[in-house]
Symmetry: D2
Subunit: 117 residues, 4 copies
């Protein structure tokens, strides 16, 4: 495990420890959606600046993308906590669905067929 790796449980607890300090607590579900929309928008702006056409590229922008992604993850975890959703379980459910549903959606690399021998 790399030094920076962290479990979904640790992330959800750290966010809850932070939010639980305050009287205000978690936002309502609709306000959380507005926060998610805001964060995806900020990420979109950075990506458009750095990877869109007609723009200057910089290393600073690359760092900005990582930061905006972290902020989006933070809001996503806050949203999960506010609705008592287990992030690890949500990932498992979604990933399992995608692994079976999208198995034939794209072109398999040749060596991927080996397993059928």
């Amino acid at each position: 495990m790399t030094k920076s790796s962290v479990t979904t449980e640790q992330m959800q607890k750290r966010v809850d420890d932070f939010i639980s300090q305050f009287e205000e607590g978690y936002f309502s579900p609709l306000a959380m959606i507005a926060r998610l929309t805001e964060e995806v928008g900020e990420l979109a702006r950075e990506v458009n600046h750095h990877y869109g056409e007609k723009t200057k590229k910089s290393t600073e922008e690359e760092k900005a993308i990582e930061e905006e992604l972290g902020d989006l993850l933070f809001v996503l975890i806050t949203f999960s906590n506010s609705l008592n959703i287990d992030l690890g379980k949500a990932f498992e459910t979604s990933m399992s669905k995608i692994e079976s549903r999208d198995q034939d959606r794209f072109t398999k690399k040749e060596h991927s067929y080996d397993r059928s021998n």
Copy 2:
């Protein structure tokens, strides 16, 4: 650790194992933003149906929210992988920033002051 808890490293690897099977590989950064926007939109619809005004509530919708959240997390991880962003590091950076920046943004609960004694 709960049974469903999973590390950021495990999640990033599982998504990479899935995507790497296919010739198509990862989407471009702008196409990934479009995918994120789509997933946030699907989550917004479910939340509006379940927690918005003027609507019937159902347990099915609650499950749908968890599924849409998992799908959003999947796309967020795919985006991270495509740009070689370490999700655990992005979380740490964002969380540390928020913990120091927003310390006085909201009203501290009374017992939170205990630690300063």
Copy 3:
């Protein structure tokens, strides 16, 4: 017609006159989606500040909402122009669909039934 009312054709022409001055021209469709996402995010932030819970309200924020809405409309028109979509036609198509599809989705006010006499 109020002084500020403007036709879809006038709006599309004014945006085109502006964009056409520049060598860069219109963004690609995916970059336009990133721009739309960014603008909806900025609108979401203002709305959450002004109408969300746990926040101070101000008249400045109300003006900010109107400005963000105008910016979103600008990007929507830019997007339409870049794909040669007639905004008036798109409105007509969507509105007609909604008027027939959602006729029974909500509760009609009593006097609305008069027309069936």
Copy 4:
């Protein structure tokens, strides 16, 4: 004026006539943001299918983009109505700001300089 062109005032009135039939009336500001997010997400999906990489193109998808754009415009007008925002005025304010602010943001085409002579 083309046959399909319509004024902002006409569009706002037609939407209001539709919504005002129903007891439920307009959504709250945060629910409207969720609706906008949903519609931008649906537009993002269509654009990604049609203009993104790794996908088949079809004429049906082009029509779908126009329809999703119309739906987004409908929700934007609904949002404006619910907050008593004059769409024509919001466009004028935003457009005037952009015309002066972004005058030097991009590369002017050569003939555009003529006017300064």
